[in-house]
Structure formats: structure tokens, C-alpha cells
Subunit: 125 residues, 2 copies
DNA sequence: TTTGTTAATGCAATTGAATTGCAATAATAA
DNA sequence: TTATTATTGCAATTCAATTGCATTAACAAA
């Protein structure tokens, strides 16, 4: 009896599923569930999903966290090492296909990656 | 008469100069200037340096901003497009030599880059 | 050197995303 | 059905960062 299935979790999961390669901010999700649950619940559900490895979390240079379903990850093999993109005009964040490949200097051990490119998307450029 | 030279600015500039490839957080700098100036002044000086292009600013995945002197930039050519590294143990942040090279999908325009690798540095690994 | 303008500063108050404490609620194992 | 305890809502709190405003001081002009 570790985690329980609840309406709140299912609702948020559905929202994330429907936005596969477009990470959503806490605020984005709050708006979509407005009235259905408390904002603190959104925080806690997102954090539990993240802890359990169902979603990945990126900190964008607007200072907000964005969350997206893990796509090419398996329980035993997480690799959230792709770039993300944020549009300065429409604010949308996207997962890019390209993986981050860094040649670290000797002795450094890589644990995780948080790479964000900021600019203008095709619709706004 | 745009910007004025003040003791506060000179002090902070000296600190950043002495820490060339090791970006410092607001908090780091505050400690070094403790008693000499107000913390709000530190914020404002750092922001003015950043606006004027003297330093670059990165948001690390600990949620804090880190600042470092621009090294290979000229007035007309800024390129803060290198990776950064943060050690999970000693918390130190470093500028890496390697530049970020992303092949953006068609139509996307890149403006800036905020790429951080998190892991363990040689001393802590 | 003196003076006037206004950028810079200190201090207190405020913002806003994120977190925490706690009592009430509800999922689920027994 | 019942007992256990994870989950939720609500209020309060945290903490870095920002803002307002009166005071100070840099520096251009006289
Ligand atoms: Mn994943
Ligand atoms: Mn630079
Ligand atoms: Zn856009
Ligand atoms: Zn270290």
C-alpha cells in the first residue's frame, strides 16, 4: 500500500498524457483542473509522479517548473537528457528530440541534465 | 551619465573577477560583502551588470541564480552558450568549456541557452 | 570648486511560487 | 465491514527576489 489511485491523480495524468511533448507548468495544470482540486494537491501529485519516475521535471529560465510524461523511459532506464525549448513570445515549452551529449572533463560524473534553449517558435518567429 | 562608478559595484566586480569560471550565487556574494552593503544592492548591481552584458546569469536546478564574468565575449558578440556543471555534494557551479550545439527543428530561432549538467565533481565523486 | 540633476543605496514592505502542519477524508488491505 | 494510513483541503509559512520611497552621493555643467 504505497500509492493510492485517486481522481486527482487520474485527472492530472490524463492532462499530461494529452500533452505528451509539451511540458506543462504547475500554473497550466492548475487552470485545467480549476475547481476540481486544490492547488496544493496539484503540487503534491506532480511531485509524487516525479519521485516515482512517471514524469520529468524541468526548470525553465522563467523560474517555473514544467512537467511532462516520460516518453522513451522504462522503469529501469530513465534518460531525460533531451533539450527543451521555450518560446519567448507564446511561452510554450517543448521537448526536443535531440539528446544532450556533453564531454565532461575527467573525473566528473553526470547525474542529470537540465538544458533549455530559449527563442522563438515557428509560429512566433 | 548612464551608470555611475560606485564602491559597491567595484567590490562586486572584484569578487566576480576573482572567480572567473566559477559562477557565484546571490547568496555567495552576499556573504563575501557582508556588512559592506545591503543585500538589495547586491541584487541591483548584479542585475545591472547583467543588463549591460558584463556578466552572464544562469538559473541552476537548485532554483538559484548564478553569476559569472563574461570571458570570451565582446561588446558586440555575446555567446554564453557553454554548459555549466553543478555538484550535488559541494554545490559548486562551474562554467564548462564545451559549447552547446543544438540542431533546432525548422523555423525555430535560438536566442539564448541555459544548460546545466548536475552530478559530482572530481573532489566529490 | 560649487551646484544641480538624478543614479544609486538602505530599509521596510511586498510579491509569488513552492512548501509545510494539521485535521478531515477516503482508498485499500485485512 | 473495519482498521489503517495515504491523500486532500485549507491556512499558514517559507524564502528568494522585487518594489516603493526617502536619503545619499556620483558626476556633468557652470
Ligand atoms: Mn523519464
Ligand atoms: Mn558574455
Ligand atoms: Zn511561440
Ligand atoms: Zn563537488
Amino acid at each position: 500500500m504505497k500509492r493510492r489511485n485517486t481522481a486527482a491523480k487520474q485527472t492530472i495524468l490524463d492532462i499530461l498524457q494529452a500533452s505528451r511533448s509539451v511540458p506543462l507548468s504547475q500554473e497550466d495544470i492548475e487552470q485545467k483542473v480549476a475547481g476540481k482540486m486544490n492547488r496544493v494537491t496539484v503540487y503534491r501529485v506532480l511531485n509524487s509522479f516525479y519521485e516515482d519516475g512517471y514524469i520529468h521535471k524541468i526548470l525553465a529560465d522563467d523560474g517555473k517548473y514544467y512537467f511532462a510524461i516520460c516518453l522513451n523511459c522504462r522503469e529501469d532506464d530513465h534518460h531525460h537528457d533531451h533539450f527543451h525549448f521555450r518560446c519567448l513570445n507564446c511561452q510554450k515549452v517543448e521537448c526536443l528530440q535531440e539528446e544532450v551529449k556533453v564531454q565532461l572533463p575527467g573525473g566528473y560524473r553526470q547525474e542529470s541534465v537540465n538544458c533549455l534553449i530559449t527563442g522563438y517558435c515557428p509560429e512566433c518567429a
